[in-house]
């Protein structure tokens, strides 16, 4: 029997000596008890761990070192073994008296029996399995947590479950907080005691939700790194408590150890998970921190997945609604012509039914008329190259052989399979309307011009008679009438031009001519009716350009008559023509009323008339609009520089060589 621990390291030849030597070398805590459980031998590690002397080595002190939660289980199992003589084996937390930390141990004991099977003594070991145990626990926890997180897209709910999983094996407390607009939003809190959870929830509500009020959390947000407090010292508690009440509270909870880990999405801390150990007296170590951080990462991933899924689901719902609404035709096709799917609106537009589609009878290449093949091919290469084609007009051959005008826009969905999504808008009604509008313009043109022709004709006949009579007074009246007839005529022409521009029917007739010839013609006409004004041309340009002479004459006339119209107090207008590389730049400068900065951007709009002008000067507000369009159609530019009270300069450029589109 082992008697004296002081002799333990002396070589011995006896069996007892050998046993003792072995027991002292083993990394485990080793003990030998009598059949009644009384102390016979314990190795040095045992005494060191419990930090007791031999005299203190009582059953009472051993039990005290067992974690309160494990005591009952340990007592029962030991009782069972002593009663039956069966081997004893248990895992429990055992207090390290020196560090104050509970560590996991595997306890094993065997009974030594005599020939009559009577128990002579118990020999046992306690193996420190703390590391393995925590690793296993952490792994199980993380696996469980992942399972929960992926079980539902409701991440608020799943994070709540994860917090519960962390308790009690990882920590005594676990809470999840989201940060929204710099405020903390507690979405989950767990503790093994429901009463305490209730209390914590109340506390979270009462507490200021401002993130800056919590030092650890604000640090986590700032650094995007965890805050790890392995030992919460009394001093720390006293330092961080904001008032007496809080200090009392925290002290009563017995904070032992804490970890705060971030939940990071897109490089931004969107929330934190807090772990606090209290009554278990557990002290978090690096491994616990790793586990906690891993949980933070997995939570972030789950939230991100849920958000992605939700946003893609929403998009899908939105698209499906559009698809089903049949407001617009939608087809899913490939570049070869196959239509994989189409909505009813499309089928209706082309006059086919779903059976035709399923039978593969509806292919976009087959229902595209030959005259649209070129445009379609161009749009298709655009889709394959840039991922989308801007909407273009074309026609489809309907099942009955007739053709339907449509606008098509496409986006590439899959580059490899060339699958694309296209929107098809039936524009039959619009085309009809356009046609009616054209007809109207044509009728209006005729209807307005016919009486004007008659008036003009009669007045001119009258003019001749009066001139023969030599009545100057009558003649002057007739001249005035002529001026108004011409004005009425140009108003009608302008209105028709606006309609043409609007319907894209303004065409240009290009010819080559000398710019100066055109200017001379225009100036002659204008000087005739406005002899009081001096139009001075700066720099004659002996240049031949290719443009629509008649349309450019309109632009010149418009700018010059405007310059005169809006310069009631001055009598000078400057015209400047110069070649600038590939364009000829023309400017018309007046010294009249000028245009405010605000209005400069609007004066080229259709029917726009500035407030300052509309009361003093008559007009429809379409002259500059038409001029601007004519210049643009030529591939030129038009702009204005002006100052109120000082005058305006209108510029425009025309390419020397026609850019025919």
């Amino acid at each position: 029997m082992v008697k004296n621990t002081s002799k333990q390291f002396q070589p011995s030849t006896s069996f007892e000596g050998d046993f003792e030597l072995l027991a002292e070398t083993l990394p485990q805590l080793v003990w030998v008890l009598g059949p009644d459980g009384s102390y016979e031998y314990c190795n040095k590690r045992w005494f060191d761990y419990l930090n007791i002397s031999k005299s203190e080595n009582t059953r009472e002190n051993w039990v005290k070192a067992v974690h309160p939660d494990d005591r009952e289980m340990v007592t029962q199992m030991w009782y069972h073994s002593t009663l039956t003589g069966e081997p004893y084996e248990a895992e429990y937390r055992f207090l390290n008296a020196k560090t104050g930390e509970y560590r996991w141990f595997l306890a094993r004991a065997r009974a030594v029996k005599n020939a009559e099977k009577k128990v002579l003594r118990w020999t046992g070991t306690l193996t420190d399995i703390h590391e393995q145990k925590t690793i296993l626990e952490a792994q199980t926890f993380l696996a469980e947590a992942s399972k929960v997180l992926s079980s539902s897209l409701n991440y608020v709910e799943t994070l709540g479950q994860v917090a519960s999983l962390a308790v009690p094996h990882i920590s005594d407390w676990c809470s999840v907080e989201f940060i929204e607009n710099d405020a903390l939003l507690q979405i989950a809190v767990a503790h093994k005691d429901p009463a305490k959870v209730k209390w914590a929830k109340k506390l979270a509500k009462k507490r200021s939700s401002d993130v800056t009020s919590n030092k650890s959390i604000s640090e986590v947000i700032k650094t995007q790194k965890s805050v790890f407090i392995p030992i919460i010292s009394q001093e720390l508690i006293e330092r961080s408590a904001r008032n007496e009440e809080e200090l009392k509270l925290v002290k009563s909870l017995g904070f032992e150890s804490a970890m705060v880990v971030p939940i990071i999405i897109d490089k931004k801390v969107i929330g934190v998970i807090q772990f606090v150990s209290t009554e278990s007296k557990k002290r978090f170590n690096q491994f616990d921190l790793y586990t906690a951080e891993e949980l933070g990462r997995r939570a972030a991933m789950a939230i991100q997945n849920a958000q992605l899924f939700e946003s893609s689901r929403q998009k899908e719902v939105q698209f499906q609604a559009l698809y089903d609404s049949n407001i617009v035709g939608v087809i899913y096709s490939n570049a070869q012509g196959k239509i994989i799917d189409a909505n009813d609106a499309f089928l209706q537009t082309v006059g086919y039914n779903r059976e035709d589609l399923e039978a593969g009878k509806v292919r976009w290449d087959r229902i595209t008329p030959p005259e649209y093949k070129k445009d379609t091919a161009k749009a298709l290469s655009e889709v394959l190259k840039d991922g989308m084609a801007s909407p273009w007009e074309k026609e489809y051959i309907k099942k009955d052989g007739s053709q339907v005008p449509v606008i098509v826009g496409s986006v590439l969905i899959n580059k490899k399979t060339t699958e694309m999504l296209s929107f098809i808008l039936d524009i039959t009604e619009r085309k009809k309307l356009e046609q009616r509008k054209d007809e109207f313009i044509s009728i209006a043109s005729h209807e307005l011009k016919t009486p004007l022709t008659s008036i003009k004709g009669y007045v001119q006949i009258l003019e001749r008679i009066v001139q023969q009579m030599g009545d100057e007074k009558l003649d002057s009246y007739i001249q005035k009438t002529n001026t108004y007839i011409n004005r009425l005529n140009s108003l009608i022409i302008d209105l028709l031009d606006v309609s043409k521009i609007q319907s894209g029917k303004l065409t240009l007739d290009f010819s080559k001519f000398k710019v100066q010839d055109l200017i001379d013609e225009v100036l002659e006409g204008i000087q005739q009716t406005n002899s009081a004004y001096k139009i001075l041309q700066n720099g004659k340009e002996n240049l031949i350009i290719e443009a629509d002479k008649h349309r450019l004459e309109q632009v010149f006339t418009n700018l010059l008559t405007n310059a005169i119209k809006y310069s009631p107090r001055t009598k000078k207008v400057l015209l400047n023509v110069e070649r600038k590389k590939d364009v000829v730049q023309i400017s018309v400068q007046d010294f009249g009323i000028g245009i405010s900065k605000k209005e400069q951007s609007k004066i080229f709009d259709r029917f726009y008339r500035s407030d300052a002008v509309s009361k003093r000067f008559s007009g429809l507000g379409i002259g500059l609009y038409i001029s601007f369009e004519i210049v643009e159609r030529h591939g030129g530019k038009m702009w204005v520089e002006s100052e109120i009270g000082k005058g305006s300069t209108f510029f425009f450029t025309i390419p020397v060589k026609a850019k025919k589109t």
């Binding site: 044509s442 043109s445 005729h446 011009k449 016919t450 022709t453 008659s454 003009k456 004709g457 009669y458």
Partner: protein, 124 residues
């Protein structure tokens, strides 16, 4: 200008607008031309065959029979193809239209009476 000794040149005017017909009649008669007017194109071929005009002014926009078809037919028919035809139109693209229907020339509404005179002189 025509002389009193040679027989006056004959101009046929075809327009549904009475006032315009009257104006053209006054102006061209003044110049000594012989004028016949039609308010529609229904009997135009018969009139041409019988009266044999030297120049035709025709409005393209007339009810019932479209003026452009008439002009095309006049230019297709060997018997009438030699007679100069001048279209009178309110359309801005008169030149294009004149080409399209094979007319010899055009006058755009509203025209100056001097244009009318010049046109007659040019073709007679």
């Amino acid at each position: 200008m025509t002389s009193q000794l040679t027989p006056a040149k004959k101009i046929l005017i075809c327009d549904d607008e009475e006032s315009i017909v009257e104006i053209m009649n006054i102006v061209l008669s003044e110049k000594g031309y012989q004028i016949k007017t039609l308010s529609d194109a229904q009997d135009i071929f018969k009139v041409i065959e019988r009266w044999k005009p030297d120049l035709i002014f025709i409005d393209l926009w007339m009810p019932e029979i479209s003026g452009d078809e008439v002009v095309r037919e006049l230019k297709r028919n060997k018997k009438t193809a030699h007679i100069p035809v001048i279209i009178v139109t309110a359309n801005k693209d008169s030149q294009k239209i004149a080409n399209a229907v094979n007319a010899n020339d055009y006058i755009s509404k509203p025209f100056d009476i001097i244009e009318l005179e010049n046109m007659a002189e040019k073709y007679l």
